[in-house]
Symmetry: C2
């Protein structure tokens, strides 16, 4: 389409190998992996193969620790609500952070309507949780801690391993929403020692509408979808086999190419951040300068509205975002940006750039040139932009 | 593969037109329908188009009454748990039947663990619910009635419209699990006057892992997947767009070809039932003789085990089932068959044949010949088979 996509968080294109596997699956007309006769055998084998590939990506002890879901949102809902409902005899308190994704936030808001209590720990100016805050928030009624692996708006990575040490010591379940990390940066469930880890296929170039939930063996959790005995009785419903096959291939490629992809992303991210001061003034780069996703840059630009910038860039065939697509319909200022200390106006003036393997350095250059003009245009008509600065 | 598929309930093959649309969607690399820039526009249009096609199939007042889900199981869980949780201020009792699908049964069993009460009404020897039993079971604490549209093991259709009159008079929400009906027989939500109706794409030759929930405007229900604002804020999570596009095309074709498909199924079903006495003795045909799915035949054969028959037929390249694939891993006798009065042994000796548009009369003929031999083989080694009959 000739559009420069700098919003890969919204949607990554499917890799050619993923496309090929999905097209083959469609044309193969697989049966039902649970059927009692041989029509289901190739389906069952394909499902097992995909599960092994995905389990390898996050280094599970056994493939059956991976439960396939309809995406990151279902995984998160399953982890949080499933753990909460299964452990009401122990308590009703859940500990989380101030900067979680809507899937976590709204799952917890739902649980609050059902007499669960939620304690949110703050983050520092880079968006990092302090593990000792988590420790301090845990009581004898705590049944679950849920802290994201990486933030989808500012990219900051959390000290998951350190938090897991605390939750294990305290005997509390720990879930991490790793939707924007798995397949992008190394995620090893054995090293992290989490009990539950949510992820999705699209962040590593698999199809949308398919994801996974890592459930450590022995974790006490209810399904949220009850019915058939699929997924080792942990998630009912006939499988989205075509999507799962695509996810399996994407997982293999993500593992194989992770280092080179990270280098590629970092080169683009570094270039953007380094050159930005030559094009615009009065802005903040959000998120931790080191401990962050390599493919995400969040910039709060003063005296402009992010939505307006997105529109002006869209007219110039450059796709960026103000925040995650999941929140695009909601007009409030980002809770993430407010939590790291941005004021309401600056939060509204934020752009999120997410790189993909298809981006080149020229895309960054073109973005910077167009951004400069767009910022000027908007500031010229902004009543908030100080006159002195215009001179 | 040269296999005669008489187990379409497990998995229908994708129609060529559905395959084509899905392959095109894969190659188009659609963006995210919720994104803020034009990369998402074709995705958003495709999503709207599929929703219109699906809404037309069940005659919604407006397309937005259709919520896309990850399949029939999610739709059922959403309807039942979502309605239950949203209406706890009114009461905690739910009315259902004895012969529901596992997705309904186990969703209700889950709710019973959370202090909801479930009242199950019986069915007659054909598997029909008596609407006055439903009426009698409703109390001032009743918040939901859930009765399936058609039964997945014996095919019996329920008096949904009559039950809906009762629930509307009483001001109680009514959900029907129509997973095996929608796209197979006419289902019109305006005529039925239900509040919630679950369905899936594969029964009408769309992909697995995608389904829909009809939610009548104004129905008080919670999402079960909380997060982003997708699906009019009723079901969070980035959409399985490729699957949804396939479902849309399948819905169009199902509406267009419904009459001819039904005639085709009926011809095969009538032939099978009419010729069966020429091949085997001592069996029951289960389900209502008239008010039933046209594509399903359930036969309980005395003195044999259904699982063994399935294996013998499988060796002869004929795929049939003893019951739904969702329950294949569970070894109990079918609750449906016990509910219509079969004893444990006869319930275990049951075969379910489900026809597809690819079946021909020769498939029925071959099935009957092979079945005859298989039944003889198994009865010869059965200690239960009366000696007199062997003479």
């Amino acid at each position: 389409m000739g559009i420069i996509n700098l919003d890969h968080l919204s949607a990554n294109p499917l890799l050619p190998e993923v496309q090929e596997a999905m097209v083959k699956a469609i044309k193969s007309n697989y049966g039902n992996p649970s059927s009692q006769h041989k029509i289901g055998d190739p389906a069952s084998e394909a499902l097992d193969g995909a599960r092994e590939s995905v389990a390898r990506l996050i280094n599970c002890v056994a493939p059956k620790e991976v439960v396939f879901t309809s995406g990151g949102t279902e995984s998160v809902n399953h982890a949080i609500k499933g753990a909460a409902f299964a452990n009401t005899k122990k308590g009703n308190q859940i500990v989380t952070s101030n900067i979680e994704h809507n899937a976590v936030l709204r799952s917890l808001r739902r649980l609050k309507m059902m007499d669960f209590k939620v304690t949110s720990v703050p983050v520092d100016q880079h968006g990092r949780v302090n593990p000792s805050d988590v420790e301090g928030a845990i009581t004898d009624k705590t049944i679950l801690v849920s802290i994201m692996h990486s933030n989808n708006e500012i990219g900051t990575l959390q000290p998951i391993k350190e938090i897991a040490q605390i939750t294990r010591d305290k005997g509390v379940l720990f879930h991490t929403d790793a939707v924007d990390s798995v397949g992008v940066v190394p995620v090893d469930v054995q090293e992290l020692e989490v009990d539950l880890l949510s992820f999705a296929s699209n962040p590593f170039y698999g199809p949308t509408g398919v994801g996974g939930l890592y459930i450590r063996r022995g974790t006490k959790i209810w399904p949220i979808l009850d019915g058939g005995v699929q997924e080792n009785n942990k998630r009912a419903g006939t499988e989205n086999l075509i999507g799962i096959i695509g996810m399996g291939v994407a997982a293999e490629l993500a593992l194989k190419h992770m280092d080179s992809r990270i280098s590629h992303y970092k080169r683009l991210k570094d270039k953007l951040i380094k050159e930005l001061p030559n094009f615009i003034t009065e802005y903040y780069v959000n998120g931790h300068p080191e401990l962050a996703l390599p493919n995400l840059v969040s910039v709060s630009i003063k005296y402009i509205e992010g939505e307006s910038i997105v529109l002006l860039l869209d007219e110039e065939d450059i796709a960026v975002s103000t925040r995650s697509a999941c929140a695009a319909g909601a007009l409030q200022a980002s809770h993430v940006l407010l939590s790291i200390g941005r004021d309401f106006a600056d939060a509204q003036g934020t752009l999120v750039v997410t790189f993909g393997i298809d981006n080149r350095e020229e895309d960054v250059e073109r973005f910077l040139v167009v951004l400069k003009d767009a910022v000027k245009t908007l500031r010229d008509i902004s009543p908030l932009y100080p006159k002195a600065a215009q001179a």
